[in-house]
């Protein structure tokens, strides 16, 4: 449907965009300030790096999700895909195909990336060439990926058997570079890459165009199917990157791995200011969104304010309040 455009010369939407870009960071700062009040240990270096490292999985996946959603798609399969890739990666590490340990671990990472890209490609081609709603396609692959993992694990869990491999690979999650944990570096790297793709390249602009108005993109000679499919492949790669740091943390995968990650990631994307119906994407906002979600949980635990039975309610309320505040800020210009 066409919407009426008034004759009023409105400069507002422009400014509104920048407000919605800043709002998630303001919300994050506010929540952190509350955290510091609730428990001074919140601001300790160890706690902050813990929280940052923990948010890696969701943040990394959410960057991919930002691209998919900006392009007018949706991917519900990311949690199950993470579990599936984790399982395959660990099975490969256990297979002992390669004797050289560093090479084994690097090969496992490459395998994870390849499987992630293929899973994404499958999602992308099914939605674009198959012309099926992404919600349905990825709901289907969500079931497929999770069942495949359960089957691989025979209902139990898959664990890295070799303790030397375990000890060496463990560094990928727990190690650091000049005091900055590797997972935190990964968030930074993925966010910079995501922002580069979305804001600086022609492909990124095509993603926005396709999500904003498919017809305009088509009439401008842009291949909608190709652009969308690639967003799913990038999402698959992001999931694989998350897996690469997830696996060393507990060295195992089970049917419970990645359960609910899809919704958490989508929530992070939306809290970060990206529009669910496509066309507008905020990579850095997504990172802020992922951190907000993780920090809220952390503060709830560190403070003694709330009964353990009510934590879920408080988290939900804070997310809604953060979104309302964001809306309020942009409405009042």
């Amino acid at each position: 449907m066409t919407q009426a455009v008034g004759e009023a010369p409105a400069a507002a939407p422009r400014r509104r965009m920048s407000v919605s870009a800043v709002a998630p960071f303001l919300a994050l700062a506010l929540i952190c300030a509350l955290g510091a009040l609730a428990n001074p240990r919140f601001l300790s270096f160890d706690n902050l790096t813990n929280v940052l490292a923990r948010s890696t999985f969701i943040a990394t996946i959410a960057v991919g999700q930002t691209l998919v959603i900006t392009g007018g798609g949706l991917d519900l399969s990311v949690g199950a895909m993470a579990a599936f890739i984790s399982g395959l990666t660990i099975l490969f590490l256990n297979s002992g195909l390669i004797d050289n340990m560093p090479l084994l671990i690097v090969s496992a990472m490459v395998l994870a990336l390849a499987v992630g890209a293929l899973c994404g490609l499958f999602n992308g081609l099914t939605t674009t060439i198959g012309k099926i709603e992404p919600f349905i396609v990825t709901l289907g692959t969500m079931g497929i990926f999770r069942s495949l993992l359960t089957w691989l694990a025979q209902g139990g869990s898959i664990t890295i058997r070799n303790t030397d491999v375990r000890a060496a690979y463990r560094q990928v999650y727990f190690g650091d570079l000049f005091g900055v944990p590797y997972p935190v570096l990964l968030i930074l790297g993925v966010a910079v890459a995501g922002a580069f793709i979305l804001y600086a390249t022609a492909y990124g602009r095509h993603v926005r165009a396709v999500g904003s108005n498919e017809d305009v993109a088509r009439y401008s000679g842009i291949s909608v199917a190709r652009v969308r499919t690639i967003t799913y492949v990038l999402q698959g790669l992001c999931v694989a990157l998350a897996v690469i740091v997830y696996v060393p943390r507990l060295s195992s995968a089970s049917a419970a791995t990645g359960l609910g990650w899809e919704l958490t990631a989508i929530t992070a994307v939306v809290v970060g200011g990206t529009r669910l119906k496509g066309g507008v994407g905020h990579i850095w906002g997504t990172i802020a969104g992922a951190l907000i979600l993780e920090v809220i949980g952390n503060i709830m635990l560190l403070s003694n304010l709330v009964s353990e039975y009510l934590i879920g309610a408080v988290q939900g309320a804070i997310i809604i309040i953060a979104m309302l505040a964001q809306r309020g800020m942009s409405a009042s210009r």
């Binding site: 066409t2 008034g6 602009r205 926005r208 108005n213 017809d215 305009v216 009439y219 066309g279």
Partner: protein, 516 residues
């Protein structure tokens, strides 16, 4: 202006105005888009409001129909002041507005849209049969024999516009406000609409009529009010104003000739040849060719299949046939393929297919040609900014602020931007569908000059239009389509509206309202 003093101030009474607006003003923020406008309309009177885009016409109409509240001033119905609380309140009082923008739910049928929110019921269920019957009747008045059960998105823009008019008039009303109802209509539908307005008038309905088409205004209006920059410039009986006077009042200066001098018709080999081309379900067996430097027009009624034919040519919908560009055979599976070969299609539907309304001018300008603006993997913003400068200058895109979003620009500027966007590709063949729909007369004049300039540069130009006058004014030849087929071609002396209408309808017209 001396005309400003001639505002009519009729008092209330049996013969007094049904609707009267006194000193209406409206501001958005610090900007006043309407200042001190007073108009009135009596039962059985047609009052036309004219003005360029941005003159405040639509704002005035929205205030009168209860969509906007005035910042200052009053509205009187039957002589007593009222405060309209919203469009529903206005409708309850018998005021209906036919919107300029199409506001129909695309997935619902014509009949469902027509009765949306006021469905007829039979017991607990909706009475579809009765609604379909009434909808069919209402559409027949416009000569549209479309299935009213088909979803609106399958209709052409003109048919949607007619469905929207029918929807508005299905409400009991004493005052009908039309906001550019004919912008997307062809002459035959336009004359049906004007006939309908005369019927309303005969029934004693008061009509407010906004249009860019001054000939229509002259034909149907009793009184004309001219707005410019939000101010009331003149209110006069229509009998005292000729279209040229109206245009002068609207623009505030004398207009040069509307159409540019026609470049001489080129001779030589055709650059673009189409043979036996068809678009599934819309057009078949179309063959034509166009030379470099030539402007070829495509005329026809709504639903004649012109837009669909060209969309199929450019791979935007299903179809097939022979295409040759400079002798080389072509097959375009998508718009990109045509662009690579040097041919572009500018859609008739600027807002939903041509431009990203929520993106900036620069993003829109380079969207189809981003490959040219890359440095490595990056977009070269400096080159993009330069291209924007050039486009703004060459196509006279009038924007104060370059960060403006495409959706915030006037129709004329949007059309210029669309043209500039496609010219980034430096095409040899340019197809422009409805180049001047819904844009004001000043911008129209400019667009015609740009089209002539494209031809003068040696490009082949095809113009699809429902405004016969503009086709006659700028084209070297005009091909006429009817029911999906090419039925004839007119050129030179034969290029007149009568000849085109005969071809387009297949019958000799009685000439009513078809001005020659």
């Amino acid at each position: 202006m001396s005309e400003a003093g001639e505002k009519k101030r009729a008092g209330a009474g049996p013969d007094g105005p049904v609707l009267e607006a006194v000193g209406l003003s409206r501001s958005f923020g610090p900007i006043e888009v309407l200042s001190d406008v007073s108009v009135s309309v009596r039962a059985g009177e047609v009052h036309a409001i004219i003005g360029e885009n941005g003159a405040g016409k639509s704002t005035l109409m929205k205030i009168l129909a209860g969509h906007l509240a005035p910042t200052r001033g009053a509205i009187k119905l039957d002589g007593s002041p009222v405060e309209l609380k919203g469009p529903v309140d206005a409708e309850r009082r018998g005021v209906v507005l036919v919107h300029q923008e199409i506001m129909l739910a695309p997935d619902l049928s014509i009949a469902e849209n027509m009765f949306l929110g006021r469905e007829l019921r039979r017991g607990l269920t909706v009475d579809d049969r009765e609604m379909n019957r009434r909808a069919t009747e209402a559409m027949r008045v416009f000569g549209v024999e479309a299935a009213v059960t088909a979803p609106v998105q399958r209709l052409s823009i003109a048919q949607r516009q007619l469905a929207q008019i029918a929807r508005a008039l299905a409400v009991p009303h004493r005052i009908a406000i039309f906001d550019e109802p004919t912008a997307s209509l062809t002459p035959v539908e336009t004359s049906a609409l004007l006939g309908l307005i005369r019927e309303l008038k005969a029934k004693g309905v008061a009509v407010l009529y906004i249009s860019h088409r001054l000939e229509e205004v002259k034909a149907v209006a009793d009184v004309v009010t001219v707005l410019r920059d939000g101010k009331q410039v003149a209110t006069k009986p229509a009998a005292e104003l000729e279209p040229v006077d109206m245009a002068r009042l609207m623009v505030g200066r004398d207009l040069l000739a509307l159409y540019p001098p026609r470049p001489p018709a080129p001779a030589g080999e055709p650059a673009f040849e189409v043979g036996r081309f068809g678009a599934a379900g819309f057009a078949e067996d179309a063959s034509f060719s166009v030379r470099p430097g030539e402007i070829l027009g495509f005329a026809g009624l709504v639903g004649a299949g012109r837009t669909e034919l060209f969309e199929a040519l450019f791979g935007l919908r299903k179809g097939g046939g022979d295409i040759r560009l400079n002798g080389a055979e072509q097959q375009w599976r998508d718009a990109r393929a045509g662009m690579r070969a040097g041919a572009v299609y500018l859609t008739e539907d600027r807002k939903s297919k041509g431009l990203l309304l929520e993106e900036t001018i620069a993003v829109n300008l380079t969207l189809a040609s981003l490959d040219k603006f890359q440095r490595g993997p990056l977009i070269d913003r400096a080159r993009e900014a330069r291209a924007l400068d050039e486009a703004i200058q060459r196509f006279d895109i009038r924007v104060g602020d370059r960060t403006l979003l495409a959706g915030q620009m006037s129709g004329g500027n949007q059309q210029k931007l669309l043209l500039a966007k496609m010219m980034q590709l430096d095409p040899r063949v340019v197809v422009i569908d409805e180049p001047t729909r819904g844009i004001d007369i000043g911008a129209k004049q400019q667009i015609y000059r740009f089209i002539a300039a494209l031809a003068a540069e040696g490009r082949s130009v095809i113009v699809i239009s429902s405004e016969m006058a503009e086709l006659i004014g700028i084209c070297h030849r005009i091909i006429v389509m009817r029911n999906g087929r090419v039925v004839g071609e007119v050129a030179g002396e034969e290029m007149n509206e009568h000849a085109i209408v005969v071809l387009a309808t297949g019958v000799s017209t009685n000439g009513e309202d078809v001005r020659t």
